[in-house]
């Protein structure tokens, strides 16, 4: 048998690629689990697994497309429409986001934007910016179902930053400034996992029982409590981020951001039942404040602004303290 024939036939039979964002989900899972392994929680729909399953999501969405498209055709998704958490409204909103998400170029930006590849980079970024703008327009124009409202507000914030970063790449590539281009590309790359994770969580979101939701919140809270870097950053000890200490501050920020993102996506993916909607809303709001504080601190760190970093840290401390109050409210019903 010809080797080439077997090679071709096996590729024809098996050729698949991992799901979009699959590696990033693994990365987050590795970051949030301590080195001494723990058993997976008994709950089988752990978010790190579900988040990976875009293929399953696509299948579900195909089924939802008929209902969603009919809904959109019949009613439209009116600008600033009254929010409604009906199944149809949720399916329609997921469809809207899904259609936005699949427009994001799959190839990583760093594949085109490196070294002195200015023309290729400019061409690549020129494709990405309109997609990011379209996403922003949709996030602003269409009011999300209530259970996604806070998450979507944060998506707008993160996406706006991504647009600014993409524009910075464009400017740098046009100016033939390799160093600035590299810095801006790195910033874009760093912002992508948050958007991927939140898109996936919304697309896969399911309302669950009280017990399941409580178990999920409890797991995330335990992980947050066990995150030493998060506790350091949210603690009262003085942290200096000048000179050689920038790297350690960056590490603290990244570890905390991973943990907060994990919590944010968990409460979207494993959505609260109606009976806990109010408590869930407070928790999501405080996590969003923590997330925003981390963005502020990151920006301050990149410009060497210690005062800005400290201000963001105060906001983070307050948000984590609020989360510490929110969670017992949920766990105690």
């Amino acid at each position: 048998m010809e080797e080439r024939t077997l090679f071709d036939r096996i590729h024809q039979a098996l050729d698949v690629e991992p799901g979009p964002g699959a590696y990033e989900q693994l990365r987050i899972a590795l970051a949030k689990r301590p080195v001494k392994p723990q058993r997976w929680p008994a709950f089988p729909m752990r978010w790190s697994k579900m988040g990976l399953r875009l293929a399953a999501v696509a299948t579900v969405l195909v089924l939802a497309i008929a209902a969603g498209a009919a809904y959109l055709a019949a009613h439209g998704v009116a600008d600033r429409a009254t929010p409604a958490d009906s199944e149809h409204a949720i399916a329609a909103y997921k469809l809207l986001l899904y259609n936005d998400y699949i427009e994001i170029p799959a190839a990583p930006i760093e594949g085109a934007c490196f070294g002195n590849q200015f023309a290729a980079c400019e061409a690549d970024v020129s494709l990405r910016i309109p997609v990011a703008n379209q996403i922003q327009n949709d996030l602003i124009r269409f009011q999300p179902p209530a259970r996604f409202a806070i998450a979507v507000a944060q998506m707008r914030r993160h996406n706006a930053l991504q647009i600014a970063r993409l524009n910075a790449v464009l400017v740098a590539s046009r100016a033939l400034d390799a160093a600035a281009m590299s810095r801006s590309v790195a910033a874009v790359v760093s912002g992508r996992p948050w958007m991927d994770a939140m898109f996936n969580s919304i697309l896969s979101s399911q309302q669950v029982t009280v017990a399941t939701y409580i178990r999920s919140v409890s797991n995330e809270k335990r992980n947050l409590d066990q995150c030493v870097q998060c506790q350091d950053l949210a603690g009262q000890s003085r942290i200096s981020c000048t000179g050689s200490q920038v790297a350690s501050c960056q590490a603290l920020l990244e570890s905390t951001a991973v943990q907060i993102l994990s919590f944010q996506t968990a409460v979207v993916l494993i959505a609260a039942p109606s009976s806990l909607a109010v408590q869930d809303n407070w928790l999501q709001l405080d996590l969003a404040v923590a997330d925003t504080a981390l963005l502020t601190m990151g920006e301050a760190l990149s410009t060497g602004d210690q005062a800005g970093f400290n201000a963001g840290r105060v906001s983070l401390q307050q948000a984590i303290a609020a989360v510490n109050v929110d969670v017992p409210d949920i766990l105690n019903g």
Binding site: R9, E17, A22, E254
Partner: protein
């Protein structure tokens, strides 16, 4: 979040990962993720199980990072752990041997019936035979690297590939005649 990027060598990442830095370990296996997924999919023929297997294998690899010899290549070591994880998954799901699945990416398949038949033929091979076929003809791995992955000699790797292909030959020939 604005970023400060630090270029770290593989040795730095290994050292950090050994001290419990999950992000460092994630960076370490980033270049291997796609290949690991394809190996897992080639062995399990199930998209979700393949992604789960790679995730579990990643945690296993992290725990066993101390076993990676200094200077040894990461890829074959990691792929061997992925393959072992896939073996565990299949052992725990005996019924999957007989399960008929619709292959992902079927829209790209020119010969759908042939692809399904080949997948079924692969599933009839033993785990070790299937692994060696996947590594050789799906990952396009040289015999030397297959040998390292399986912990055998290069000659033994060639022999095992030949035997596995002999077992696949009838189905390929039937398809070839039909096509």
């Amino acid at each position: 979040m604005a970023q400060v990027i630090f270029v770290q060598t593989e040795a730095d990442l290994i050292a950090a990962a050994r001290q419990g830095d999950g992000l460092a370990f994630a960076e370490l296996i980033r270049p291997e993720y796609r290949v690991a997924f394809r190996v897992a999919y080639g062995l399990l023929h199930n998209f979700d199980e393949a992604e789960d297997a790679v995730q579990e294998a990643a945690f296993n690899a992290w725990r066993r990072l101390g076993n990676l010899r200094q200077g040894a290549s990461l890829r074959p070591w990691f792929l061997a752990i992925v393959a072992n994880q896939c073996r565990t998954v299949r052992r725990s799901k005996w019924w999957s041997v007989l399960k008929a699945e619709s292959p992902e990416g079927e829209g790209q398949s020119v010969d759908f019936a042939g692809a399904v038949d080949l997948r079924r033929a692969l599933l009839r091979l033993s785990h070790d035979e299937r692994l060696i076929v996947v590594l050789r003809y799906y990952i396009d791995m040289p015999f030397e690297e297959i040998a390292i992955t399986l912990g055998i000699s290069t000659g033994a790797a060639r022999t095992r590939v030949r035997r596995a292909v002999q077992r696949l030959r009838p189905i390929i020939q039937i398809q070839g005649a039909a096509g």
